[in-house]
């Protein structure tokens, strides 16, 4: 009976005023996710950022999100519907949303857009990304120390600069402490497919890898590593619960400070179009606590690297570094500029195999 009453009340509400008239003074902030918020990786961390906005700005904002939105026509429609429903700021959190974001932004000049990991910008479109490669340098350093088979397995998503940068940064750091280290790379051509990611992890282990790194979004590889008794690193989120023994550390995407700052800027009317590429120093890239499997001296040296990156005294790509074909990329002491990093499409010397072209 009580259920019936609630249902009837609900019906009355729905047919009547429940449209969207409530709390017009709240600023609406929308988020578009490429995966499910329960992926415990990429989209999960963006949603943590959204929750942080709610926590920090409370009743001044109203947030909403749509998850698992395919990149392309569907994304464009979701963004348009968000803009139509009065959202003032929309975060589009996958590379493939870049062109749809630009298209929709043209139609809604008064709505601000924030696109993650892209390279296009407009008057009302900012882009932002994190220097994940700084984190790669640290986990690469740990992996170089910890591998016994001298083989690191790497689950790569797409052969784009972002991913290749991560591979190069990890390899350089591992090789620095372990000249014999080899890297096996599997391309899975997806950001999120637990089945494929698990298969890739298994294949890498069969090829002798005893540490797995990944540039995909699910904790599937971590669970495989736990099963097989080898090591892995959390990707995007900490992932400790999926590999209590396997997890050595993690690269954590922390979007919260950026999302809060940008939302605040919209509230204050000070928002301008920017291109942001923040790293460990600004807190956008976090390093998860080290597992006690990591020896104290390695923990100390990894922490020293982290401190040096934060202090600006160290760069992940500092010469001398040769390209895979042996030609000189960076001379002794030279560091890579952001332009080259943003378009990186080559392996550094020592990595075997070809980038799929």
């Amino acid at each position: 009976m009580k259920l019936l009453k609630t249902l009837l009340a609900g019906a009355a509400l729905a047919t009547g005023l429940a449209g969207g008239a409530m709390a017009e003074d709240k600023t609406k902030v929308g988020f578009v996710y490429v995966g499910p918020v329960g992926d415990f990786g990429w989209s999960y961390e963006h949603d943590q950022g959204r929750k942080a906005v709610v926590e920090a700005l409370g009743d001044k904002v109203e947030t909403s999100f749509v998850e698992s939105v395919p990149e392309g026509a569907d994304a464009e429609r979701v963004m348009t519907q968000m803009a139509l429903s009065g959202h003032k700021l929309i975060f589009t959190t996958s590379f493939g949303y870049m062109d749809p974001t630009i298209n929709v932004a043209k139609k809604f000049p008064n709505v601000k857009f924030e696109h993650a990991t892209g390279f296009k910008q407009a008057d009302n479109v900012s882009n932002y990304s994190a220097r994940f490669y700084e984190g790669r340098t640290i986990i690469g350093h740990i992996a170089g120390h910890m591998t016994e088979s001298n083989t690191i397995g790497y689950i790569a998503s797409f052969p784009i600069p972002e991913v290749i940068r991560g591979i190069n940064a990890s390899y350089l750091a591992a090789k620095k402490v372990n000249p014999d280290v080899k890297m096996k790379i599997v391309w899975v051509y997806t950001w999120f497919d637990p089945g494929k990611e698990a298969d890739a992890a298994t294949a890498l282990i069969e090829q002798g890898a005893d540490i797995i790194m990944q540039h995909t979004d699910s904790p599937a590889a971590m669970t495989i590593a736990e099963e097989k008794g080898i090591y892995a690193f959390g990707q995007a989120s900490d992932m400790k619960q999926f590999g209590p023994n396997a997890r050595l550390s993690s690269i954590i995407d922390d979007w919260a400070p950026y999302y809060i700052a940008r939302t605040q800027a919209v509230l204050d009317g000070t928002w301008t179009s920017t291109a942001t590429w923040d790293g460990i120093k600004q807190g956008m890239v976090g390093i998860g606590e080290f597992s006690d499997k990591v020896p104290a001296d390695v923990q100390a040296s990894a922490t020293a690297i982290k401190d040096a990156i934060v202090a600006g005294t160290m760069h992940s790509f500092t010469g001398p570094i040769n390209k895979q074909d042996g030609s000189v990329w960076l001379k002794d002491g030279e560091t890579a500029d952001d332009g080259t990093l943003a378009t990186m499409n080559f392996y550094v010397e020592g990595i075997e195999g070809d980038i799929p072209q």
């Binding site: 449209g19 395919p70 990149e71 026509a73 569907d74 519907q81 968000m82 390279f119």
Partner: protein
């Protein structure tokens, strides 16, 4: 124990009513699901089914988008329905959709940046032929070796996905795209762009073609000897054979038609709304079209309405997601219920359930 007994004369009225009953049952079961999730079920159902059509904030955008989303579903489902009527089961329309998109796109990419009015028609033809050619694989394996077309066509979807990945990281990759796995953007290539014909109507050539195909299929299936043969083949292949219909030819023709329709749908999608070939542009139209075909009773007009209804649940589902914070999975469950209830009501129209005690042996 429940036993199903075939009904001698299934009610004609009921056959046409079942889709409506299925929609109502979906609304009720969906409402219960939304209630369990702590949302107001009436509001959720209203947002999904009514807001895209009537809400003043969204309707002017959502109504044209219904056409954009429904067009590929309807086009593919039309092709599938011809085969389904003849008991030929093409489950791999998604693969043919992908191959059509690749084939059509390749034509444009080969001649880029040439501008010509002939280019877009050529792309459509190439798209249709590519989809058709891909459907010939299950057709030939079926007619020559009696390989099950359901399995073959379904498995070829995964082959198509990998072929797509190879193409967008290889020959069809955009030279200006920083090695990202995607082709050039057709929205920036006027001759190849499947653009909106009249602003803010959602009408593109694919929508126009879909409407044309609905009429064409209606005429062929109800007024032409081919439609009769399809029917005969579906009801009794032996009788069809005696009346001079070659079952093998029927298999080739039916798979060919569904492949060509799916291929064209793929081309219209990639050259218009999707804009470019990427590994993520196929979003399951080929599979959803199977639901649309059945929801529409394998009848062209029914399919048109079913496609629009399915599109409505997508567009309304997105609205419900961000307005009510519903998880995406709940919308997918909701869409799944639609097929479930349709099949369930179908069974009850054609069969009579009999409850009997289990016999002890």
């Amino acid at each position: 124990m429940i036993r199903l007994e075939p009904r001698a004369n299934p009610s004609k009225t009921m056959v046409f009513l079942t889709p409506i009953l299925a929609v109502i049952a979906t609304m009720i079961a969906g409402g219960i699901l939304f209630t369990i999730l702590g949302k107001n079920p009436f509001e959720a159902i209203r947002i999904i089914f009514l807001d895209p059509l009537f809400n003043e904030q969204f309707a002017s955008y959502a109504r044209p988008q219904l056409l954009v989303k429904a067009a590929p579903l309807v086009m593919i489902a039309l092709g599938l329905s011809v085969g389904f009527r003849a008991n030929i089961w093409n489950i791999g329309a998604e693969g043919q959709f992908i191959m059509g998109a690749i084939g059509g796109a390749a034509v444009a990419l080969a001649v880029h940046p040439l501008e010509s009015v002939l280019l877009f028609p050529l792309m459509i033809i190439a798209g249709g032929l590519s989809g058709m050619a891909y459907a010939m694989i299950p057709a030939i394996l079926k007619t020559k070796f009696n390989a099950n077309e359901i399995l073959v066509s379904l498995m070829l979807v995964y082959v198509a996905f990998n072929f797509l990945a190879a193409m967008v990281t290889g020959p069809l990759k955009s030279p200006i795209g920083y090695n990202f796995p995607e082709s050039r953007n057709f929205q920036e290539y006027p001759s190849a762009h499947n653009a909106e014909l009249i602003a803010n109507t959602g009408l593109h050539w694919g929508v126009v073609m879909t409407l044309g195909l609905v009429i064409l299929c209606y005429i062929i299936l109800t007024r032409h000897i081919f439609g009769y043969r399809v029917q005969l083949m579906g009801q009794s292949p032996k009788a069809a054979k005696f009346s001079g219909v070659s079952p093998n030819w029927m298999i080739v023709i039916c798979l060919g038609i569904s492949g060509a329709f799916a291929g064209m749908a793929g081309l219209f999608e990639v050259a218009g709304p999707a804009g470019k070939l990427t590994t993520t542009f196929p979003v399951g139209y080929g599979f959803t079209a199977i639901i649309v075909a059945f929801l529409g009773r394998l009848h062209p007009i029914g399919i048109l309405l079913a496609g629009l209804l399915m599109a409505l649940t997508y567009i309304g589902g997105e609205l419900a997601q961000f307005q009510l914070s519903l998880p995406a999975a709940s919308i997918q469950v909701f869409q799944g219920m639609l097929l479930f209830f349709l099949l369930a009501t179908d069974v009850l129209v054609h069969f009579k359930p009999r409850f009997e005690k289990r016999k002890t042996i």
